[in-house]
């Protein structure tokens, strides 16, 4: 094993890492927006709207993200939707992660005792104030753990975009492998980088959760 073959290629890998981070941030923001939309639609008074959300969720629950990516990148152009690689990638991540994140949000909202809402109604608070001042501050803390898991999943799934030639971390890694002929060393190095970044992110989020839910500490 020779780890020094890696050294000249580090800048190339870091360029890829930047793209991975960029796609992760875009995908996360779009997924959270999509999730809020879906969670809202799932609570809609109109049956058909709820039905569409349910069917869509069931489909995503059974569909591999790679197949979704192929559908968007290879099939959608036949139907008139032509996207560049990065847009197709971000759209895939968004369509795939929104329903999972919507479930996380619904779970957090559902865990707030209905009595708290009744109490707010009895004080005379309007629905919007109840959502903003009673529900949201608690939900914000409660969704952090499931959302963190999903964001980590999303960050890892950006590696799949390499199959449609998005020049992200995994794609650059493949290039480096083909130049160094040291696949094990290179992929192990890349795994360690992913692991350190994602572990740091998880620790950070755990801190954020602790701060957001500090009011729950009984001592």
């Amino acid at each position: 094993m020779d780890w020094t073959v890696l050294l000249p290629h580090i800048p190339r890998l870091m360029d890829g890492l930047l793209i991975t981070l960029w796609v992760t941030v875009l995908g996360t923001l779009a997924s959270v927006a999509g999730a809020l939309l879906l969670a809202g639609a799932a609570a809609s008074p109109f049956g058909p709207v709820r039905g569409i959300v349910r069917v869509y969720t069931e489909i995503i629950l059974g569909l591999p993200i790679l197949v979704l990516l192929y559908l968007i990148y290879f099939v959608a152009p036949d139907l008139g939707l032509r996207l560049d690689e990065i847009s197709a990638g971000v759209l895939t991540l968004t369509l795939y992660y929104s329903p999972y994140m919507a479930e996380a949000i619904r779970g957090a909202v559902g865990s707030i005792p209905p009595g708290q809402i009744d109490a707010a109604r009895m004080v005379g608070m309007p629905g919007l104030s109840i959502a903003r001042r009673i529900v949201a501050p608690q939900v914000l803390g409660l969704v952090i753990p499931p959302l963190t898991g999903l964001m980590i999943g999303l960050a890892k799934d950006t590696a799949i975009l390499s199959v449609i030639s998005v020049q992200e971390f995994a794609y650059r890694t493949k290039q480096v492998v083909s130049r160094t002929y040291a696949p094990f060393e290179v992929w192990t190095f890349v795994a360690v980088v992913y692991w350190m970044l994602l572990s740091a992110f998880e620790t950070l989020m755990r801190g954020a959760e602790g701060r957001a839910l500090r009011f729950r500490e009984s001592r």
């Binding site: 197949v67 559908l71 590696a159 094990f184 992929w187 795994a191 992913y194 692991w195 350190m196």
Partner: protein, 218 residues
């Protein structure tokens, strides 16, 4: 626009590949359950070294993309002198990855069994091994069943990644047809439907099993 002929020609190939997908899902799922059960037992064992080992395993698996794990396993096995059949390498990587999530599921399941039951079992004189096999595990499994079924659908959804180590499962088979025929819709839409059906079968099967377990206890 939809080439029916191409679709009909592809069906047998895709059906064969679907069987590979199902086999890969089952083998990976079983490996994941085994790895997860061992790792959960290690975490609950009270032996510090085992607990730390299990923690590192879970953190590594959760912190790196499966895509990368697959490549590390498939390039790493030959270095250890193991000749790597692509199917086995893929099943091993997917299974080990899933095992990390199964660890958490089973751990939560065991912890959900009321502590009083363990004390009661110990008071009756059951040995620790019997407490695990007769009291804890059956209940933990029943409690964890919905989460384990959801995890198995995620294993199913991870199998397309086996294409990176050249296992011709359903998705890769579709890519091969598509690269020959230059047409995607006839291939990827049936593939998508195939995955959704298998996933539904898993979830419904689990619900059925859950009902049977509940009835058996009622």
């Amino acid at each position: 626009m939809f080439d029916t002929e191409l679709f009909l020609e592809s069906v047998p190939t895709l059906a064969d590949a679907a069987l590979v997908t199902i086999r890969l899902t089952v083998v990976s799922g079983a490996l994941g359950l085994l790895a997860g059960a061992l790792s959960a037992a290690a975490q609950l064992s009270g032996v510090t070294a085992l607990r730390i080992l299990s923690r590192i395993y879970v953190s590594l698996m959760r912190g790196t993309p499966l895509f990368v794990q697959l490549l590390v396993v498939s390039f790493g096995l030959p270095m250890l002198g193991v000749s790597a059949d692509p199917f086995l390498a893929a099943a091993l990587a997917i299974g080990l990855n899933s095992g990390a999530y199964v660890t958490e599921i089973l751990r939560a399941g065991v912890l959900a069994v009321p502590a009083g039951q363990i004390e009661a079992a110990a008071a009756v004189g059951l040995s620790p091994v019997r407490i695990w096999t007769r009291i804890l595990l059956p209940q933990a499994f029943a409690i964890s069943l919905p989460a384990l079924a959801a995890e198995l659908t995620i294993v199913l959804k991870s199998t397309p990644l086996a294409s990176v180590v050249a296992v011709t499962e359903m998705t890769y088979s579709g890519v091969l047809i598509q690269s020959r025929a230059f047409s995607a819709i006839e291939v990827f839409v049936p593939i998508a439907v195939g995955y959704i059906l298998i996933a539904q079968a898993i979830l419904r099967g689990a619900r059925h099993l859950e009902g049977r377990l509940a009835r058996a206890r009622a």
